[in-house]
Amino acid sequence: MLWRTLRSAALARAILISLAAFGALGAWAPWVQDGGPPAPAWAVALRLDHPFSSPWFLAGVAALFASTFACTWGRRGRIAAVRRGELPGTALRLEGDGAALRRFLEDQGFAGAGPVLRRHGLALWGGWVLHVGLLVLIAGVLLQQVLHDGGTFVLTEGEVRSLRDPGAVFQVERGPLAPAQPPDLSVLLERFDPERKQAGYAPDRLSQLRLTGEGGRERRATIDRASGVDVDGVVIHQAIRTGLSLTLEIAGMGTRAVALQKRTAHEASAEVRDQGGRAARFVVTTERALDDPRGPGQLLVRLERGGETTFLTSGAPFDFGGPPTRTTGVRRWGSFTYDRSPGLPAVLAGFAIILLGCALLVFPAGVAVLPAGGEAGQAAVHVLRGAAVLEGDWRALTAGSAPAGPPG
């Protein structure tokens, strides 16, 4: 009973329409748009604040998988039988002389030496291949999601960080079977230009990285937002966010970069704790807008702590609650992402099989069985589409006139 329900065309149609409707509503919901309002309470209560990871959508995809599986199962034998010439009862019947029928069908693209003629015989499998591709894709996406992990990190020009350093990566997404830790990869940002002009394209980010992977293997790469770099299965991409960064030199501890966040068009700041653990705030005010392609111009750097404000000069030491500290400059930070996605080939296989099925569907497949012995009789013809045209052309031919068509 359940199997019969799963195989029913009505269920398949209902699932597809539901998924399409859900997708359309999900894509247009105001709270999923960039800069849109927060999700309303009813959407949160129904777990629709993130529509495409909601249980409703996942249940729909699971139902699609089950329905597709049931519809595809057992169909292979029927297609193979049609290909052998065991045609369904709905096959078209054309009456006439065997030789004339053969000539007519050959003109229509059918071919074969025996009584069974085929037109694009492989294309009979188009629908089946497409459905298998859907199954592979859904399974592939599941596998990819389970194994995938990724995150974001920021680097200031000249700064080196290991992705495993505490707090180095944020906005981490991790599948249930993904590695528990970020990859063992250290990244040095050698050069960063947030407004690099490349011929033919609008100015955009460009970074030169030195990456050191497991076993100390080192690699240099220049990346932009068009493509990333793959190091031992970890792909590093340039992200779009950037900002100013204050570099501090702390005696005995080396240099530290403090990434500042934009607060106004001309001001960026960062909340920190000083060496003594007190809350402090670095603020940089700029002459030109922070995003000005010419650069920010003159800078004013100040430290706000406990109601006091100290203006900082590059190279001059200041009290930071511990060892002597000084600023060595204001630079740019760039943002990057890392991704590990060992399940991706399964997704790509799904895409490839689906497209193969779609391509096969375009060919007008058919199988014809001629009367035995080439004598007059009835030919059975099964075509995936165009039966009425084929029948009309045969009738027109046997009636002695050319198939209907305009004169020009």
Partner: protein, 270 residues
Amino acid sequence: MQSLLFWAAVTAYALATAGFFLGLAFEQPAWRRAAHLVALAGLAPHAAVIGLRWAEVGHGPYNTRYEVLSFQAFLLVAAWGLLALRSANVRSLGVLVLPVAFLLMGFSVSTFGLKKEVPIIFKSWWLVLHIGFAKLFGVSILLAACTAGAFLWRRRRPGALPSLPSQARLDLYAHQFLLSAFLFLGVMIAAGALWANQSWGRYWGWDPIETTSLVTWIAFGVILHFRVLHRWEGARMAWLTLVALAFALVTLYVVAVMVPTIHNSYMVGS
């Protein structure tokens, strides 16, 4: 110079449209043949103006409403014109195809003077596949809709335009074009996903156009199910083909104009 070539192409399509209407109304096959040739001749200045703009801005026709729609019209006329060289049946569809091309040109000219640099993420070979198949998808669904429209016209007034192909043949053509559109949309989505993976490390991000493309592909799947499983054909399928066109137009043009998306640049109009 570009303006002159553009208007030469528009004029050719307008003349060809008039030729087809008159040729069908007065049952003059010679006029239709002449109109076909005029439309094909219009492709020459059209290709030239596309090439000149390409050379001027340094990128292909995929980054403003003018470039996108004008190139879409070019491909539509070229695809129909070439198919029509092989089949008089397809040639008669010019009466529906050419007005569509004319309208696309008219809509595109509103941003003729707009020239913009493309973002750096366009530095990818996936762009060629993604956009190329988007164009083929657009052409295929427009041809499917024109054929479905011709079917409905023929059905309502069987004797009015005897030069159009038979209803059964129009139904078959519409189905064939719809299947091609289904394939091309699938390739467009897959190429876009691979491109996104190359640029951002994720093949799917539920961007409004990504999602709408998927919804459209599913809608096409539903429509094809009606045809294949339930043997729907004729007028019902013709209407569903027009529904498919509506989905395609929303995917290709409406979302990019109305909703913030990573695809806004290709329909930018100001």
